[in-house]
Amino acid sequence: MPKITINNVEMVVAEGLTILEAARLHNIEMPTLCYYPDLDIKNDCRVCVVEIEGVKGLVTSCSTRVREGMNIKTHSSRVLTARKLIVEMILSNHDSNCTACARNMNCELQRLAKSLNIEKNRFESVLEYQLIDEGNDCIIRNPNRCIKCGRCVDVCRSMQSISVLDVIGRGHQVTVSPAYGRHLNDVFCSYCGQCAAVCPVGAITEKDNTAQVWEALHDSDKHVVVQVAPAIRVSLGEDLGLPVGSIVTGQLVGALKMLGFARVFDTNFTADLTIIEEGHEFIHRLQNGGPLPLITSCCPGWIRFAEHEYPDILKYVSSCKSPQQMFGAIIKSYYAAKANIDPKNIFVVSIMPCTAKKYEAKRPEMSVTGTDPDVDAVLTTRELGKMIKQMGIDFQNLTEQPFDSPSAITTGAAAIFGVTGGVMEAALRTVKEVLDEHKLDNLDFVDVRGINGIKEATVTIKGHPYKVAVAHTLSNARKIAKQVIAGQSEYAFIEVMACPGGCVGGGGQPYGTTNKKRIKRSASIYEVDESATIRKSHENPIVSALYHDFLGEPCGHKSHELLHTTYTNRKIT
């Protein structure tokens, strides 16, 4: 273990650590812009430079490993001079109108400028204005705010294998953009939002729908209801100052009520409904010769990816709408009739950990009335956090409140939709128990849990072993898709989520998401599951009542009308 000195303090650190990691372990906050945990070292921004005794230039601490005897200065005069100049230069080529930016007060560049005490920039602005890419419903790219750190390029390429974002041009004319300066709606973007989640500044953000939601809430003619995805309850707290992984279900409902929503529904309810529909679809395919594998459909990023790049796989994908869209349809049909409200006057908001859900809600087939969308507006976790702050709600001290009927009872199976492997596990609990015709001894299918990119398990149903697989991130989805199309897949059932870790790691989740945080949020999801009174979707009494009162039977006529959908080949040829 090398002995090194940082800022005159001697320390023994683990072999193989970078200077950056060593410094942070010893409570020295190192400034970074291009560095991001779990991603590749890019070495672009150069703000993490340090001075090492005996080395001529300054070296980047993110990429330099510690060596025995190194004498490092992280904040020497030479280092601070360089760092300050670098940040001033970035600011001189940056739209620094901070108050007009979504990342104001939550921006890595702003924080760094403040810590370096930059009040007046010594350089004149060299910014050449470029068009903002806002032609889609999910992601806005503002190249005038881009600092060319390369994080988004990295996630788009390495994590998602899409590579719609890349570095274009050279010198100070470098921009990050799809090829030929196209906009995201003209390329194979899945709208997963991982680029927005890692952007250190406001160059890539979700399309903000909070104004639209406020307007609806302030409109007395509108009956505004909201639904909340499974992953929000374990991540929203983070955005409002609580520890990572805090379970805030009750406060969340309370806050939404305070914001003025007439009803607060739990998307977990339609997650249970999804399991009934998709489970029966699986059973039907098992008993009627396929087509297998059945592939999950609740992730809109995955669907868009499949439609763009692997349209041949769509025949395997479940026809079930996602829980968000099932709820939208149920609200504008069943709930509207029951509450005796014209669906045209109902405004459905959903809170999602996801940017692609904004696109999903706008798909023209997602409309039971034939005119209005079933889900009128989608907010990310971050947007909800913003509204709660705008309203001045003391979130941490809120009284917990329950969800409204019909979603007052949901199951543990629904809760785990928020994590990779969750949909698979929830489906297996139901399918196995229904087909085996006796109660499961063990509800935990641990093989499909965890952070591995592709997970496999073998499940014995009615004495027959079936192989299943779970993939998260689109680069893993691509591997699976290629296998299926080549006819080399031995799986009967596949779950795909576009984001790492599943929805807990979604593109709309609080900033600063890392693997560590995904694991903590996942653990909380499983805690919600384990503490649930009912842990299997087919035992949800309200879901059963819904079939009895309204839907009839799973995969029946009414279900097909409301809960199932179709896909489109979007391959650009």
């Binding site: 030479r78 100049l85 001189s92 100070h172």
Partner: protein, 425 residues
């Protein structure tokens, strides 16, 4: 004799388009000799010769050779860096156009010594004629069995192909070059790992300059010991010099290390035009230091050149006479770097642009002391924090003139004040 023709001795005598012509002047004999010597002996000779890379950095070639030879990861690659994009450098072109087989022979010998099976010549895109000549040479070398499978029936195989650049200066930087060979945009990578372990297509890769490879047959011919007697303690052998600028006899000259710049300029180049004086001399090319006339007794030597915090460079000498405004020249250099920066790291991308903004103020007599301080701090910062050689050397001209021609900066500031006053008067 000031010139020492070792690697250029057949130039002018042989027909570059004829392999037969090359072979009448002992061409490919050194390859036969090298194959008899065996890999270890070849590397030993290069070690004794103390050969340092001729591309600019002067890195001891034997370290790279040994490193690549020891690698077991296959395939291994050999790259000849013929992306001679540094302004003021044209000696590689001279070799490529006049004696291509010597470079090819050097590459084959090196490949044999290090156990490499595949090579590339990464050729500057603008070098159309060199491309035609080299293509012909490769074709002939294949026909004669010097390239391809089982070379000279010794059980050693080596393939060589040309990859052409597309005009980007930074592709002369080894990792940008490798990225370009891989079909990607020319942007450098994070080091370490170095190319000898993780290079082209993530395989062990040996990269050297055209002149370095062209030197190899000479070392095999005269032996490492004899080679090392030429030159100076730190720099053995000869060096090709690209001599240009306001000088009578521009061209490529081969000299032993240790010759003074003044001798090269006066004796070989014939000095400046009558009635003119040397104002400054830029060494290495755009990335090199600009020095005053009184420093011309400096000798060509890797160690001596270290005072500039930049490398000897590839041996360019650009003479500038007293007709020129220093700031005009600095601006032109600055614009070159701002244009050629790949844009990956902040200091180089943003810094070169900002340097130019400041230089413009000096050029237009609108500079203040504040500008001088900022220019100096910024230039040093870019030098110290940039990711690759391009950024690290982009401000060398400024840093060196701030040292040797500081009075010109001060002068400009004083005149700026006077002119500002007269503007208000």
């Amino acid at each position: 004799m000031l010139e020492h023709k070792l690697i250029t001795k057949y130039i002018g005598k042989i027909d570059p388009l004829s392999i037969a012509s090359y072979m009448t002047f002992h061409g490919y004999k050194m390859l036969r000799k090298a194959l008899r010597l065996g890999g270890e002996k070849i590397i030993e000779q290069i070690e004794i010769a103390q050969l340092r890379g001729r591309g600019g950095a002067g890195f001891p070639m034997v370290i790279k050779l040994k490193s690549v030879a020891a690698q077991t990861n296959r395939p291994k690659y050999l790259i000849c860096n013929a992306d001679e994009g540094e302004p003021g450098n044209f000696k590689d072109r001279y070799l490529l156009e006049n004696n291509p087989h010597q470079i090819i022979e050097g590459m084959i010998i090196t490949a044999f010594a290090t156990g490499v099976e595949k090579g590339f010549v990464y050729l500057r895109g603008e070098y159309e004629q060199a491309y035609n000549i080299l293509s012909r040479a490769l074709e002939d070398a294949y026909k004669k069995g010097f390239l391809g499978q089982d070379i000279l029936k010794k059980g050693f195989s080596f393939d060589l192909e040309i990859r052409r650049g597309a005009g980007s200066y930074v592709c002369g930087e080894e990792f940008a070059l490798i990225e370009s060979i891989e079909g990607k945009a020319g942007r450098t990578r994070v080091k370490p790992p170095f190319p000898t372990t993780v290079g082209a297509f993530n395989k062990p890769t040996l990269i050297n300059n055209v002149e370095t490879f062209a030197t190899i047959p000479s070392i095999i011919e005269i032996g490492g010991k004899a080679f090392a007697t030429i030159g100076t303690e730190s720099s053995r052998g000869t060096k090709l010099i690209s001599l240009s600028g306001n000088i009578r006899r521009k061209g490529v000259y081969e000299v032993p290390f240790g010759v003074s710049l003044r001798d090269i300029i006066k004796t070989l180049g014939g000095g400046v035009e009558k009635g003119r004086k040397i104002k400054m001399v830029q060494l290495s090319g755009a990335c090199g230091p600009i020095i005053p006339e009184y420093m011309l007794d400096l000798i060509m030597d890797f160690e001596r050149f270290e005072i500039f915090e930049s490398k000897t460079g590839a041996g360019a000498i650009i003479v500038i006479d007293d007709r020129y405004d220093m700031f005009e020249i600095l601006l032109r250099i600055g614009e070159f770097f701002a244009h050629e920066s790949c844009g990956k790291c902040t200091p180089c991308r943003e810094g070169n642009l900002q340097l130019n903004k400041l230089l413009e103020k000096f050029h237009k007599y609108k500079a203040s002391e504040h500008d001088l301080t900022l220019l100096e701090t910024l230039a040093r910062m870019i030098h110290q924090t940039s990711l690759c050689g391009l950024g690290q050397t982009s401000a060398t001209a400024i840093i060196s003139t701030l040292h040797y021609f500081r009075h010109e900066y001060i002068n400009r500031i004083e005149k700026s004040v006077t002119m500002e006053d007269s503007r208000h008067a």
